[in-house]
């Protein structure tokens, strides 16, 4: 029988502290299993949000030994159990109770992004035709489960709390999925530059590093959007070209 010590943050919006719990670790366990075991045996009032236990709902986001992770996808055999294992709520958002945070800001941000606006249907039956090559790029972005681990690790939100000026990596991925879609006709570049603050991203790639769906957030979503913004607003030759030939972008 192997026992591990967990230091779990207990508290609410007013404050809190770490409490130690020793629990038995068996083969095949993930951190969420250990948390549930502690909840069942040692701390019935421990609050933890979870749902699918399969890495698809994005509910059990927390910080394990300081790194944002899904509790249900972090296997115990990948963690050194000789030292106490720290579990905290995600830091970028207000704590509600114990490991549960209020991530509602994200849903409000999502509403500020211009919605999908497809061109008129290609066929009389109201359907469209798309080439696979054109949708390949955006399909990666649709894997997002909105766990908000990328938002949590992003230092612009986490440390600098630019929640009024910057939408964060999750919503840059969302914008990329819309803006690069072959059917979409909406123009989001001005919003990206001003209201959504893409310039605040300094491409540290931490968001990519923690994404449980392995979306290449920085290279495939954020940087291409930065380049599109540069095309429109920061490239004098392109500006001149547009003036001479009357093209929008």
């Amino acid at each position: 029988m192997t026992t591990a010590t967990f230091k779990i943050w207990r508290g609410d919006a007013e404050g809190g502290d770490f409490k130690d719990y020793d629990t038995e670790i068996t083969e095949g366990m993930v951190v969420l299993d250990a948390v549930h075991q502690i909840q069942a045996e040692l701390a019935n009032d421990l609050a933890v949000r979870w749902n699918c236990k399969a890495g698809k709902c994005g509910s059990c986001s927390a910080e394990v030994n300081g790194m944002p992770r899904l509790l249900c996808m972090t296997r115990m055999d990948t963690i050194d159990i000789d030292k106490p294992i720290t579990i905290e709520p995600i830091k970028a958002f207000p704590t509600m109770k114990d490991l549960v945070t209020d991530v509602s800001w994200n849903f409000e941000v999502k509403k500020t992004i211009k919605k999908f606006n497809p061109r008129p249907p290609d066929a009389e039956d109201g359907t469209w035709r798309m080439a696979q090559e054109d949708v390949d790029r955006v399909q990666e972005f649709r894997k997002c489960i909105e766990c908000f681990l990328c938002q949590d690790v992003c230092h612009v939100l986490r440390d600098h709390q630019k929640t009024e000026e910057f939408i964060g990596p999750r919503f840059l991925v969302y914008t990329a999925a819309l803006d690069m879609h072959p059917l979409d006709t909406e123009d989001r570049l001005e919003d990206l530059k001003d209201a959504h603050g893409i310039g605040f991203c300094n491409i540290t790639k931490c968001c990519t590093h923690v994404c449980p769906e392995h979306i290449t957030i920085t290279d495939n979503a954020i940087i291409p959007l930065k380049e599109r913004v540069a095309d429109r607003f920061y490239d004098p030759l392109k500006k001149l070209f547009r003036r001479l030939f009357g093209k929008k972008s």
Binding site: A13, M67, Q132, T163, E165, T204, D219, E227, D235
Partner: protein, 272 residues
């Protein structure tokens, strides 16, 4: 934009619950980049030993390529416009490297990979993922001075031009002149060094994020441009290992200069 109902708690510099060796990568980055900047600055100021014509070879250091003007009294055989221009202010030291090094330096300085790396290693912004920062104020690349990083694509244009010069230098390194003045094909160790330099710099430059955008990333209907689609796929393939190409090319370009500088006093090892 909506705001959170309560701000999260700020952490002090270096404060983290991480128990891994998170500081190793930024420290190695700091040491690696510092060593390169230090060496390349020293090499640029030397204004000598930047080419090797001994043993019939024709090697040129990439820190000095293309040579616009040779230093007075030195004849590299690569100068495009002769020797040191008369208009160069006498109180300033002259080196052919001063005239060209701004371009590769600017390309790397504004490179998306290096930006993320040196913001962490030199500016601790952040020191590493989920580690507390030293400063409260943060402007990012949203305003001056870092908004200038958007100039990266212009440095890319120049860097692509440099690839042609460096390829030509590698080609020249394959031809050896004998005592009678006749040229013959050959491979010296320097030929391999200069050729690998082109390969590494090519892998780095042609995997650039800006190039990826310019060749096809800006389009939403790339299927209508098959050639662009091919180019986009190739650049994307290189881009996946952009960090690796960046470090390999950085090391090798420095090594190439060291090698040519070494040869300026010694004799090359002829392979073929």
């Amino acid at each position: 934009m909506p705001t959170t109902t309560a701000p999260a708690t700020r952490r002090g510099f270096g404060v983290t619950s991480r128990n891994d060796n998170w500081w190793i990568t930024p420290v190695l980055t700091f040491l690696g980049l510092s060593a390169f900047v230090g060496y390349s600055t020293w090499a640029a100021f030397q204004a000598s030993d930047y080419f090797f014509n001994g043993n019939g070879a024709d090697y040129l250091s990439p820190f000095y390529s293309p040579v616009l003007f040779d230093v007075a009294g030195q004849k590299s055989g690569h100068a495009l416009f002769g020797t040191q221009p008369s208009w160069w202010p006498g109180f300033l030291p002259f080196s052919p490297a001063f005239l060209i090094l701004w371009a590769p330096a600017g390309f790397r300085l504004t490179c998306y990979y290096y930006r993320g790396a040196y913001y962490k290693a030199f500016w601790a912004d952040p020191p590493s993922c989920a580690v507390g920062e030293p400063r409260k104020k943060y402007l990012g690349e949203n305003s001056l001075p870092l908004i200038i990083q958007n100039v990266h694509r212009y440095f890319l244009y120049v860097a692509i031009g440099f690839l042609f010069f460096l390829s030509y230098d590698a080609w020249r390194a394959m031809w050896f002149t004998n005592a009678a003045g006749e040229e013959s094909f050959g491979i010296g160790f320097g030929t391999i060094v200069l050729s690998l330099n082109v390969v590494f710099l090519g892998g780095y430059t042609l995997g650039c994020h800006s190039l990826r955008h310019l060749v096809g990333g800006f389009m939403n209907h790339i299927s209508k441009a098959p050639l662009r689609h091919k180019c986009y796929s190739c650049v994307s393939g290189l881009n996946k290992r952009h960090m690796l190409w960046a470090w390999c090319s950085l090391f090798w370009v420095g090594f190439t200069d060291v090698y040519v500088r070494f040869l300026a006093d010694k004799i090359d090892f002829r392979v073929l």
